[in-house]
Point group: C2
Chain length 210, copies 2
């Protein structure tokens, strides 16, 4: 196996996932993964650029960073790439007015977005908010559009919490895709555009990142 | 266009849908479609065998027939093919013990089925019961099985009620299929086995039915 020195030859930046890499989530905030606080600190002391790239669409970046800081991580909002602010940018660029099916905790990321008379639907990992009523509302908004646009913040099948497995946004994306006969646009990993935006924010090229 | 006499040559039996053909549904029981009560009466006076084949998985056959009789239709339970009793037969034959994600109204169709220690999941058009919590429970049951079996009572995308479009069971089937990486078994239209069982109950061959 190559040494760290060899493996990192030419590498200028590191993209780190958050949930499952820095900490294991749960309803009450979760627990840091052993060694991860120090690993982040060492990376930040090195010459490498570091950025955090998450698919968490339940929390605003502010809330996520607050949680991580309480766990002892040295992280600021500007170092985090997350699907909600990325989607917010796309909505602005394309003049889209979303019907939002998201948790209250992430609504602040869409503060600057006009949500009147919606011409698209944005779904995130909405958890308990994925009620039949809320899903049916999103479905009806899509069916009333001439060209329905569904933006999904990630397409994860499920994730693990300390209480057990949890259905992720991808399952509900598939439900709406099937019901409406459409294909969603995914903002989040593994979309190449999403990784590109994180690299751009970090200022490194794909071949220079780990 | 061929006359009715020509079109019905060789036809011995007629399969009729219920919702959208005999009546338009709504939460308060719906309304019969003009002319349908008399059309059913004429068919039953004719030499043709008549059977009613529905994908309604919200109500027991008893409740459905009661509703139709209140609308003036001359229909008995034994004339109705419905997904829940068909699934109940399949469960018995295969020794499957279901975790049921269905509305209370249809539970009586599974009275005779052992639901302890489930080794499969059955989903129906569960409406408001498609909460995140109930979906996640069904998902976890499937993920704990070595060979997950998901039986879906129909695979409709949506249906129309007087209040507007309603997401149907197919959307939630797709959500669980995607999350678990499995393919559901569909009991209900358009499954050929389902039509066959209705024809068998009527005692006619496929080429003799309209």
């Amino acid at each position: 196996m190559a040494s760290w020195g060899e493996r990192l030859a030419g590498v200028r930046g590191v993209l780190l996932d958050i949930s499952g890499v820095l900490y294991d989530g749960s309803e009450d905030g979760g627990v840091p993964i052993p060694g991860s606080v120090e690993a982040v600190a060492r990376l930040k002391r090195s010459q490498l650029k570091v950025r955090f790239c998450t698919n968490d669409s339940q929390k605003s970046r502010g809330d996520l960073v607050g949680l991580l800081r309480r766990h002892g991580f040295d992280i600021s909002e500007s170092e985090v790439t997350a699907p909600a602010p990325a989607a917010s940018l796309i909505l602005k660029e394309r003049g889209l007015r979303p019907h939002l099916l998201v948790q209250d905790g992430v609504l602040s990321e869409f503060d600057q977005i006009d949500t009147s008379n919606p011409n698209c639907v944005v779904i995130a990992d909405a958890g308990e908010s994925f009620s039949y009523q809320n899903m049916n509302k999103a479905f009806r908004v899509l069916m009333e559009l001439e060209s329905p646009v569904l933006i999904s913040l990630g397409k994860g099948r499920y994730y693990k919490e300390t209480s057990g497995l949890m259905l992720d946004v991808g399952a509900y994306m598939k439900a709406l895709e099937y019901a409406c006969g459409i294909k969603a646009e995914v903002v989040g990993k593994p979309s190449p555009e999403y990784f590109q935006s994180a690299l751009k924010e970090m200022g490194v090229e794909a071949h220079e990142a780990q």
